[in-house]
């Protein structure tokens, strides 16, 4: 069963350490962070053509903030990612409930769903750009395609993870197919859906960026690619930092929603999918 889920959402393991070493832990983490920054700076001095240092990168990001350029490019990318995610993940959550109504249909769909998960969807981006133009639409379609299959398969698996006993019991009490879907399947598949959403989110942003690399008029990916073409390494780095911040922030927000949505579950049932 686990094979059909095509992603991993890692969680930090609770460190099995004594309380007394905790301050040391924080100190050591800080040390590693500073060490990494110093390494970045050292590399930047060593090969300035290939690597922009942390300080110039930060200054560039602040420049972009001051001129307001950052708003329009983050907005464009976010719009593509969220638009595509809403369509792709929305269909990915809803369709499995439709499909599961008929066991025969599920049996037919399953191998196709698994195969299509394997298609590198991002590789379709040049084709999508030909079909939908270089504007927003082609990126939204790309993001939707990318996220749909992730969420569809996870939801499908979530629905199938429900034990037949529960369903039969509820049916004996007189629940119809719709009520079973709403009360039993929907609730049981929640953790799967949320894990899939968290896995899909970085892919949504990735997909939007790849689309923008290939051809676009605006967006973070456009800025990165444009800077790259001008051999403006600092611009490339600034774009990367903005992307990384966007992805980490989006995941933090989604994690908050996930925790609220799953708050009703007992703690030990709060699972991640692997």
């Amino acid at each position: 069963m686990s094979q059909s889920i095509s992603h991993i959402v890692p969680e930090i393991a609770e460190p099995q350490l004594r309380r007394s070493v905790m301050p040391w832990l924080a100190l050591a983490r800080g040390g590693v962070a500073i060490g990494l920054l110093l390494m970045w700076e050292a590399f930047a001095r060593w090969v300035p053509d290939l690597i922009a240092g942390p300080l110039p990168t930060l200054l560039r990001v602040m420049d972009l903030v001051r001129t307001g350029e950052i708003v329009s490019m983050v907005w464009a990318t976010t719009l593509e990612a969220i638009g595509g995610l809403l369509i792709g993940a929305g269909l990915g959550v809803v369709l499995p409930f439709v499909v599961q109504m008929s066991p025969r249909l599920s049996a037919v769909i399953e191998p196709f769903a698994k195969t299509t998960v394997g298609i590198p969807k991002l590789a379709l981006s040049p084709i999508l750009i030909m079909w939908f133009g270089i504007g927003l639409t082609s990126k939204i379609v790309l993001v939707a395609l990318m996220t749909f299959f992730l969420v569809f398969v996870a939801t499908f698996v979530g629905i199938r993870s429900v034990g037949p006993n529960l369903i039969r019991t509820v049916a004996i009490f007189g629940a119809g197919k719709l009520e079973i879907a709403r009360e039993v399947l929907w609730n049981s598949s929640q953790p799967f859906v949320w894990a899939a959403l968290r896995a899909a989110l970085p892919w949504a942003i990735n997909a939007a960026l790849v689309g923008e690399f290939l051809s676009a008029e605006n967006g973070i990916g456009y800025y990165i690619h444009h800077s790259y073409n001008l051999a403006d390494i600092t611009g490339v780095y600034a774009g990367m930092v903005i992307t990384a911040a966007l992805v980490l922030l989006a995941d933090a927000v989604l994690r908050l929603f996930q925790r609220r949505a799953l708050a009703w579950r007992p703690d030990n049932a709060d699972q991640t999918l692997h």
Binding site: M1, P126, M130
Partner: protein
């Protein structure tokens, strides 16, 4: 079974009919795509591009997965170090590697190594996380028992930790290998002069939808073949295990 064949045939028929209606320049057709693949195979073009992409994916996967596999085994004994590194590896995992392709190209050029680096960075984190989890999931009673019996760390790793982590490793491989091939192709889309991704991009650049779709089909086929190979290898290596999956949901 028949249902599936009918469904597949229906999909192909709809596509073919659509192409007859809208004109093959727009959406191509299954027949044209198969023809294109055949032409490429006959002329040997396809093999060259496939080989290049697979080489990138394989090299990158090895360079990423081997440290990803070994590091958790080392960190098993160093709890403090593992706790220190944990958030950094989490962030590294969370970073959108595909979005970093231009960076890899800046560092390693438009040749094979930028793709290898991308694939390595993707597969390292996947294998690392899954293996770490496998290492944590080892039955502590077995470990204590073996220690009492005088097993060395190397013996523990070889006879207990590695075998019980193997399903987790495979889980990562199942995810990482298709991503490796796809990732290599995506990097080729953005800048390359060889490989399946290049084939897609150059066909699309010449408005040859058939060529682009044929290249995507070839890519999908390779990913599917890889999946089959991994599943076969897993069945072989895990034949000793009773039927179970590594992460059956705890709260089903």
């Amino acid at each position: 079974m028949w249902d599936r064949i009918i469904f597949a045939a229906a999909l192909a028929a709809v596509w073919q009919a659509g192409s007859a209606w809208a004109g093959p320049e727009q959406i191509s057709s299954p027949v044209l795509v198969v023809q294109q693949i055949y032409v490429w195979i006959a002329s040997g073009v396809l093999l060259g591009h496939v080989g290049y992409t697979v080489l990138e994916a394989a090299l990158g996967f090895l360079i990423g997965a081997v440290p990803g596999l070994l590091l958790p085994l080392v960190l098993r004994r160093h709890v403090f170090l593992a706790a220190v590194l944990d958030p950094f590896i989490m962030i590294g995992y969370g970073l959108p590697k595909i979005a970093f392709i231009p960076l890899f190209i800046v560092w390693f050029g438009i040749g094979i190594w930028s793709k290898v680096a991308l694939v390595a960075s993707v597969s390292f984190f996947l294998v690392f996380f899954s293996t770490s989890e496998g290492v944590r999931a080892v039955d502590p009673r077995l470990l204590r028992m073996a220690k009492v019996a005088g097993a060395s760390e190397a013996q523990l790793l070889r006879t207990i930790v590695l075998p019980s982590a193997t399903p987790f490793v495979f889980q990562a491989v199942q995810i990482a290998l298709p991503l490796s091939i796809g990732g290599a192709a995506i990097a080729e889309l953005i800048s390359s002069n060889r490989g399946l991704g290049y084939l897609i991009q150059s066909s699309a650049g010449n408005f040859e939808i058939t060529g682009a779709l044929a290249a995507v089909a070839a890519l999908t086929l390779i990913v599917a073949l890889t999946n089959i190979a991994v599943a076969a290898a897993e069945a072989q290596l895990l034949a000793w295990r009773p039927q179970m999956t590594p992460s059956t949901p705890k709260a089903a």
